[in-house]
Amino acid sequence: MTVRTGILIDTTLCTGCDRCVEACKQENKLGKDLPRRWKRNIDDLSSTRFTTVIQREGNHFVRQLCRHCEQPACVSACIVGALKKTAEGPVIYDSAKCMGCRYCIMSCPFGIPRYDWENSIPYIRKCTMCYPRILDGQIPACVEACPEKATTFGPCDELLREAHHRIEENPERYIQSVVGENEVGGSSIIYISDISLGFLSYNPNPGAQPLPALTWSALSKVPPLIIGIGGLMTGIYWIVERRIKLSTKSLHTPTSKGKKGNE
């Protein structure tokens, strides 16, 4: 049985050295960040940068990367199933299927997926939690590179236990919640922090409801709608047609084709 893995990020340990970013760039062969129209900052997440360290006021460093949600909005949005949640935890992307509709970018509550805007054949780019490395039994490149152990890799349940353990041991050091435990149904990347991490998502307090449930509530009505509307229309057609036939018959009109062409 495959173990679901994830990453625990302890922002109190992060010094903002950017080694994780370098390791990520090397592992994924991403190349240089160039100043482009669609970037707010040069060190924004981009098609050449899957993870970045955001500095918040007062020397707090928060690493931003794909959250690898348990029930990812992007996966449910993808029209061709190019995005997939693997049993090991990472949300991965199959560029061969992608048609470039960018609905995944629209749907992500954390604004993570990035697009190759500069290419004439563009793909979605985002963190894959180094899925090939995980399959090889290695740990993700960013985790390996972290000199401060601010980011740890392991089975999700162990990480959660570890996170709660750290908070309990040092209650004054952390905010009393594990970010990513419940947000939008939980995610494989979890944070413990001494500052509020609301700035990482569009809604500072995302609900616990997984987003795919919202669209599914509408989608699940499709089969009954097909049968209902189809049946209704056929019924109305049949009734009206029959009434017209009856009324024309009673008027002794010789044409049997209804009252078509009466102009």
């Binding site: 981009s46 509550p109 805007w117 669209t215 989608l219």
Partner: protein, 673 residues
Amino acid sequence: MMDRKITFKSILWLLTGIWIAVSLARYIRGLGSITDLSDSTPWGLWIAFDVMSGVALAAGGFVIAAVVYIFHLEKFRPFVRPAILTAFLGYIAVAVGLLYDLGIPLNIWHAAIYPQPHSVLFEVAMCVMLYLTVLFLEFCPVILEHPWFNRLFYRKLHKALKRITIPLVIMGIVLSTLHQSSLGSLFLISPDRVHPLWYSPVLWVLFFVSAVGLGLMTIAAESLFSSWYFGHKLRVDLLSGLGRAASFVLFAYALLRLADLALRHKLDQALNGTWQANLFLFEIFLAALLPAILMSFRRIRSSPAGIGISSILTILGVIGYRFDLCIVAFARPEGVSYFPTWMEFAVTIGIVAAAILAFIFIVEHFNVSRTMHEHKGDAVEPNVRPRSSFSPLSLRIPMPESRSALRRYSLALIAGAAFAAAALPTDVWQGSPLLSTPVTSPMIMKGSLTNNSLSSKSNTYIINLHPSGSADGETDAKQVLIIDGNRNGRLVVFPHQFHRDKLDGENSCVLCHHQALPFDQNTSCSECHRDMYLPTDLFNHSVHIARLDENAGCVECHADPTKTKTRENTRSCAECHQDTILRGFIIPLKEESVEYAEGYMYAMHGLCITCHEQKLTEEPDRYCRNFADCGTCHRDINGKYFRRMSPYVAHKSNIASERNPAGAILSRPDYEN
């Protein structure tokens, strides 16, 4: 009359030409080069208008089909064919628009082979695909009635298609209901990004109802257009009927939206005076309730002007609803905005123009608007199909009104394309440009140099500037910091205070000064001014030709006309542009850096082996197993012994040349055993 038609069509052809030129740029260079889309705004004008609004505008087809075929309201039959045609062309326009917006349009068919039933977009795609087929089949009879298709096979086909009209209509209604509403469901997944005044769990109901209202009014607008353009008689009584129905639907739409907000206790947000609240009020009152109220009066809805104004308001309102949901009221990170580029507008407008041209062509050449006869014994004896106003002879060649008109259309098309191609930003052809971080241009300064105390071994200098004219400038001397920030021997004036202010004051020190690192490892200028080392071409030859009196000016730069124009015998820029030279430049340029190599053997080993090993690990399948072994290079012809490698020997002529004065080190390669 004729003139007006030709002018109108010429304008449409012009717009089509612009569209074609912009299309080239889009497909060669990709979305990033011609749109204003970004990761914060992945869906822009093309989705909001071409897809979201296009589908809604084409809703008239299924609404009228339902009214006439299912509810048997026969008086509306004249609207059936134009409405089906509008819907058919509308959906084709939607598909074409999608081909522009999709990143990889060639993969559009993947929706059919990689189904992902949890995606709303998948449902929309399937319904639109099927509905386009249904519309094609529904419209086919109109084309088959044309004399061109007066053959037995086509007559049978026509008959068969007529027979399945009702099932097709029912299928069309089902598919339309599904995807018109699902376009709204697309946004259900972004509760955090759609503004609460627009987000609603029943978005799909609102989308469906508003689409029905818009569909009815599009049919009205389309008949007004036909009566203006083709001079068809306006059936005011029927339009009034449409208006009455639309009025009910629009009331229902506005009330549904308000009731939905009230039930979710969000109604107070509509009155709090923010721009979103005002936009919402505008959308509800001016663009939904107002036309609904207008059209509830018989006198207004029976006048072409009244119907026209109401349909414009409705179109504004319902399209506005989609725009607001998709773009305007869709949250983005702070400081990011989106406004479509003119190229995005050109594509959208061009698609609409081409669709109108196709509409005009089909109405002119096929029996679209004279539908009164369509059921009388056609297909039984097609040769005597009543088509009084149609003369097959005049229809053989689908030519425009006259030769001169044809010429004007071609001219308009080419002019449009040429204009657009010329107007395209130059960087479109170079791909998406890098943003530049501007620096000030060179300037002349006079002063005395003092080395910074810190910089005995580094690259920082300070100049005490003497204000011009004053011999003794000690009192009001100004100090300027000059640094070689890139460590490339080029010094620039560095406004330290300016950088500090611009980069957020006290906190910005660490951006450049890494306190724990050696002094010369500070961030170099090019880390932020990223365009610094990009190749640029400042010299504009054609401008120089024009300024220097055309041909007479050649010798101004290519000084000796008897020689070939090479770099060597061309004058340098600075000879004319003297203000670009820093005169009185008081800082000595850095000495040429001396590079130290460990010796030929080490250098070659370092160069070759590193790369060989790297290649072998990267692509083990491509290279032989011993690609990085010693014997790969050190192997003699017999393969028996290691060969000693020698420095490369250049050609004889090179040995003699000045470039290799030390001929001694050059010797024949020796193959010692």
